[in-house]
């Protein structure tokens, strides 16, 4: 500790998917209204505590979504956006699709957590389409979520299977939203993005200099909060 170049390294090893989900959950302010995207972001719900009093939104028309339904709890009229049977918590509410997206687009949701193929230094998001010839495009609620919530957090591995950085100067995949991402949680670092460019809040299992070797855009440490 106290060594300049390693001062933002908060873990000796890269974070597992569950460790990352635990970190995102910890960073969500008490009382928030949150939408968790399909896939890795769903893991975050496992680590939200009762004290945090988080209300989960699902875009198919519900606030106050509870955990996945099991056994006799399963009700085919009660599913989440990933079409998984879920449960309702006391204080839940139902509404139609236009209301559900109006509360999203109207900026009433505090945070949404999404997966991504790429995020640019200014917070552009690409997460819906690879643009590959012959691929059938499917967008769902991704563009609405990306532009609607007050804060958009991305959860992803820093590198593709081929070792390319998913943090890029500008996205090469088709965009989901422009300048919408505020934070990127990866296995190797947490990045803050926005109009002012990109900074690194903390690193896991590497120093900022080691991280810089993996990412093709200039990085600097975020000013301490």
């Amino acid at each position: 500790m106290g060594v300049m170049e390693s001062s933002i390294k908060t873990s000796e090893a890269p974070l597992s998917r569950d460790d990352l989900a635990r970190l995102v959950a910890r960073d969500i302010a008490p009382g928030s209204f949150v939408n968790l995207g399909i896939g890795q972001p769903t893991l975050v719900s496992n680590y939200l505590t009762e004290d945090q009093d988080i209300t989960l939104h699902t875009e198919n028309g519900m606030l106050g979504m509870g955990p996945e339904a099991r056994g006799e709890e399963i009700d085919e009229d009660l599913i989440n956006a990933g079409k998984i049977p879920v449960t309702e918590l006391p204080g839940a509410s139902y509404f139609h699709h236009a209301d559900s997206f109006a509360m999203m687009r109207g900026g009433h949701l505090d945070i949404c957590v999404l997966g991504a193929f790429q995020v640019s230094v200014t917070g552009d998001l690409a997460n819906w389409h690879t643009g590959a010839p012959g691929a059938i495009p499917a967008v769902g609620g991704a563009m609405d979520l990306a532009t609607g919530a007050k804060d958009v957090f991305v959860m992803m591995t820093l590198l593709t299977r081929e070792g390319a950085s998913k943090i890029v100067e500008s996205c090469t995949y088709p965009l989901t939203g422009v300048g919408c991402v505020t934070r990127v949680y990866t296995d190797k670092a947490v990045f803050l993005t926005g109009p002012g460019g990109i900074t690194v809040r903390e690193t896991f299992g590497c120093t900022l200099e080691e991280l810089q070797e993996l990412v093709p855009v200039p990085l600097k440490a975020a000013a301490a909060a």
Partner: protein, 233 residues
């Protein structure tokens, strides 16, 4: 005009070739499967279908697509692990796709029912789904002009209707039902139960009967977890 009919066949009998048909449901929740099956049997073809998805597995909308009855899909999420009938038609160039972000789809349907000529929305700005559309900077944000989606017919599933056509839904099966009922020139609703006028608490009516044209009772299937019990109403 509101009418109550005895069968799903009768309910869909007025649907003509070339119609635009909205179909409610998100996943299996709120899918009017029996009405879709009746539409399949009635033979209407050359349809434009508005639904969140483009059919799953070997049932409902997927079969309409398989049988070549759908010329165009307007939806947000056609590609799923079990959307093989849509995938095959799309790759063969035998079905047109208008892909719409889910919130824009919902708001365009709502706009049609509300008599709105269009609206500007930030969703999709700067993406390929906004290409060719009018854009403006409003309150410092890029926004895209989107137009209403009208339909000849909507097929909807609700929990209960009363004698005035007022509807209540159940949990997340509500989804697109209320906005499609308003957007279509003729809405056809299947319900688990028809109750007398006065049996629904007016405070709890979700779709007022003014939006409803045809109602048919389709009892919930035996063994279904879609109960008819209700905490309120």
């Amino acid at each position: 005009m509101l009418n109550f009919v005895e069968s799903v066949q009768e309910a869909v009998s007025g649907i003509k070739d070339g119609s635009t048909v909205m179909i409610g449901g998100f996943g299996n929740a709120g899918q009017p499967f029996e009405l879709i099956d009746a539409l399949l049997d009635c033979g209407a073809t050359d349809l434009t279908v508005v639904n969140n998805n483009a059919g799953q597995g070997d049932q409902g909308l997927a079969l309409l697509i398989k049988e070549g009855r759908v010329k165009k899909m307007i939806c947000s999420f056609p590609r799923q692990s079990d959307s093989w009938h849509f995938d095959a038609k799309y790759k063969a160039g035998e079905i047109e796709l208008e892909l719409v972000p889910q919130g824009n789809l919902a708001e365009r349907i709502r706009a049609a029912g509300a008599g709105i000529g269009g609206f500007f929305t930030p969703t999709g700005y700067g993406t390929m789904l906004a290409e060719g559309k009018e854009t403006r900077i409003i309150d410092g944000r890029g926004q895209v002009f989107e137009t209403p989606i009208h339909a000849d017919v909507a097929l909807i599933k609700a929990l209960k209707a009363d004698g005035k056509g007022n509807l209540v839904y159940r949990k997340t099966a509500r989804n697109f039902g209320p906005i499609m009922a308003a957007a279509a020139r003729h809405s056809i609703v299947q319900v688990s139960e028809i109750v007398p006028v006065g049996a629904l608490d007016p405070e709890n009516v979700v779709t007022p009967g003014i939006y409803v044209n045809t109602v048919v009772r389709v009892p919930a299937a035996a063994g279904s977890t879609t109960g008819t019990e209700e905490k309120v109403a």
